[in-house]
């Protein structure tokens, strides 16, 4: 499997670089990377296990924005919101529709069983979705 994301250095907060062969995969991998960072301190390694737990909960996410960067931030923040208010952790992300104006996605996961690391929000800080020779990548800084 190709690499989904890397954790990168940040003094006070957390940052990842997410990769995707196409834009949809980039969005899915960014979400995956975010939940991997949340789960990791508690011994639930998403990096070695493809799925956090039996997917027993499903959610539909539908968002509108004006560009891919805004949509990416919105998407991650929507998942942070659902994680917190629904008490769920997600590990599979299917992006069904994606354009600079709209995202529709199906996410699956389960009730959060263990504590997770707090991520307050995904930020716009130095955020750029860039095209590479392998597809797309984006660096995202999270406030923790």
């Amino acid at each position: 499997m190709t690499k989904r994301f890397d954790e990168i250095e940040h003094t006070a907060d957390l940052a990842i670089r997410a990769y995707g062969r196409d834009m949809k995969e980039l969005f899915a991998n960014a979400a995956y990377g975010m939940f991997a960072l949340m789960a990791e301190p508690f011994g639930l390694s998403l990096r070695t296990k493809p799925s956090l737990e039996e997917p027993t909960r499903e959610r539909e996410v539908s968002l509108e924005a004006t560009d891919y960067e805004s949509l990416l931030v919105d998407w991650l923040n929507e998942l942070i919101y659902l994680h917190e208010v629904e008490g769920e952790t997600y590990s599979q992300f299917t992006i069904e529709t994606l354009s600079p104006a709209e995202l529709k996605a199906h996410v699956t996961g389960g009730p959060t069983k263990s504590k997770t690391k707090a991520i307050k929000a995904a930020t716009f800080h130095e955020l750029e979705v860039v095209k590479t020779n392998k597809g797309y990548e984006a660096t995202i800084v999270f406030d923790v």
Partner: protein
């Protein structure tokens, strides 16, 4: 990239990047630091973030950063952005996600020596009794009406429900309730996140710490603050929880449109802003003040829990178990204040991101019992070294828009700390120094290790030597719970 030679030394501990450094700068950017702390700041992207703040519309005099500067998102942590209320901006990204993250200090008539033998029990009781961790709910559930009340009244609501005393309000910045708060400006999503999180600590660097006043430097001021050597005190560090995070998320998203509408050019989208005097700016201010009030109510309920827990665990050990609030202050906020600009008192929006208001003597916003000496400036350090109580000065009003530093400041990334430090070993090492620590996770503890922070003594010496706040007491940790 900002290099050392880009700075001009204005005076001892004051370094300035001139306006000519980048064409989009409107004012110079200053760093208050010694040479070593300046060098440390060159190690991450914080100085570039500082320069970015100097490009915002309406900024006056200079933007600045404190010696505990480190990399954030948008402005650096430790940053201060003064913007004219009439023609300048307000920026949700510059206040950050943890609106009114802040700290309060409680004093007692208990000697640390009396409680040291049972510090393990104290820490365990706090760990059990104070809800911590991400999204963790407490036992206070707010109705829709209660939520609106918390948002508009802050600590006063908490006190009206029996969480604390009127004296607590007197000793809280803004009396724990900021004017201009309007619950209607807060989204239903944000309110939903806030409904069951009042009185919870959260995670990251939030903590409750039982500590000892190790040394008093200024007896007169210490006496005014009720502090003495050998005294047991308690620190509480927390913020506005999911509610505040959602308010920031909402307005960072929504104000992207305002940036286009008002033709604002930004070097970083996270510095998203709107004119302070615009519908968008006013809405954000009303929502931010509401989230700030939630944070004050949160620390008020947390303090109530801590009081009850310590009252229980210390029963039979000490007689007088009362905990009195020394002060509660915010270090992530935007406030409207008057400061002299070109010899004229001018209304400014002061953004403090990881920076503490440090008003000097005589300011009318201070509680009556501190008005003569100045505002307590509370500087929590890392969990293995020390924290400080300082007092605000007139010089801070001249030099830093009445602001001081807010902590030690990180120097090592969380990733590096996790790689280098094992939580378990750290807890063991701290225990051998007489400090008992419990946290939500060992990895989380490692990220917060003392080695990940700057030398707090050094940071405090800069603000003390500059005269923007004066040392009153040094406080050392005995028992800590980390979120």
């Amino acid at each position: 990239m900002v290099n050392k030679q880009d700075f001009k030394k204005v005076e001892e501990y004051v370094y300035e990047i001139p306006k000519s450094f980048r064409p989009d700068m409107r004012v110079p950017a200053r760093l208050y630091a010694d040479e070593e702390l300046l060098e440390a700041a060159l190690g991450d992207r914080s100085l570039r973030q500082l320069v970015n703040t100097a490009t915002l519309p309406g900024v006056v005099k200079y933007t600045l950063a404190m010696p505990d500067i480190h990399q954030g998102y948008g402005p650096p942590i430790g940053g201060v952005i003064p913007s004219k209320a009439s023609t300048g901006i307000i920026s949700p990204g510059a206040v950050g996600y943890d609106i009114n993250c802040g700290v309060r200090l409680l004093r007692s008539n208990i000697l640390a020596e009396e409680v040291k033998p049972i510090m393990g029990d104290i820490v365990n009781a706090l760990f059990r009794g104070v809800p911590s961790g991400v999204g963790r709910s407490g036992d206070v559930r707010l109705s829709h009406r209660d939520t609106d009340n918390v948002l508009e009244r802050g600590s006063a609501w908490a006190v009206s429900q029996g969480y604390g005393t009127k004296d607590d309000l007197e000793h809280t910045e803004e009396r724990g309730g900021m004017a201009g708060a309007e619950a209607r400006a807060v989204s239903p999503k944000a309110k939903k996140r806030g409904r069951d999180q009042l009185g919870t600590l959260g995670s990251g660097n939030h903590f409750v710490e039982v500590a000892e006043v190790e040394e008093v430097y200024d007896r007169e001021v210490a006496e005014a603050f009720g502090l003495f050597e050998g005294q047991m005190v308690v620190w509480i560090h927390s913020g506005s929880r999911g509610l505040g995070h959602q308010v920031c998320t909402d307005y960072v998203r929504d104000l992207q449109k305002a940036v286009t509408k008002y033709g604002i050019k930004l070097p970083d989208r996270e510095l998203v802003c709107a004119p302070f005097d615009s519908p968008e700016g006013r809405d954000y201010f009303a929502a931010m003040a509401s989230a700030a009030n939630y944070a004050w109510a949160n620390r008020q309920v947390l303090a109530h829990r801590v009081r009850r827990i310590l009252d229980d665990v210390l029963a039979g050990v000490v007689k007088d178990r009362e905990l009195t609030l020394v002060y509660d202050l915010t270090h992530n906020i935007a406030k409207v204040e008057e400061h002299p600009i070109d010899g004229k008192l001018t209304k400014l929006v002061i953004h403090r991101k990881g920076a503490t208001r440090a008003f000097g003597p005589g300011m009318r916003d201070l509680p009556a019992d501190y008005r003569e000496v100045g505002q307590p400036v509370l500087i929590p350090g890392d969990m293995g070294t020390a924290s400080y109580v300082l007092v605000g000065t007139a010089k801070a009003m001249e030099k830093t828009f009445g602001t001081s530093c807010h902590g030690a400041g990180r120097v090592m990334s969380r990733r590096a700390a996790k790689r280098k430090i094992r939580g378990q070993e750290l807890a063991k090492e701290l225990r051998s120094q007489g400090i008992i620590v419990r946290g939500g996770s060992m990895a989380g503890l490692a990220e917060e290790a003392p080695a990940a922070y700057k030398d707090v003594d050094r940071v405090v010496n800069v603000v003390h030597s500059l005269g923007i706040a004066r040392k009153v007491a040094r406080v050392v940790p005995l028992g800590v719970i980390k979120g």
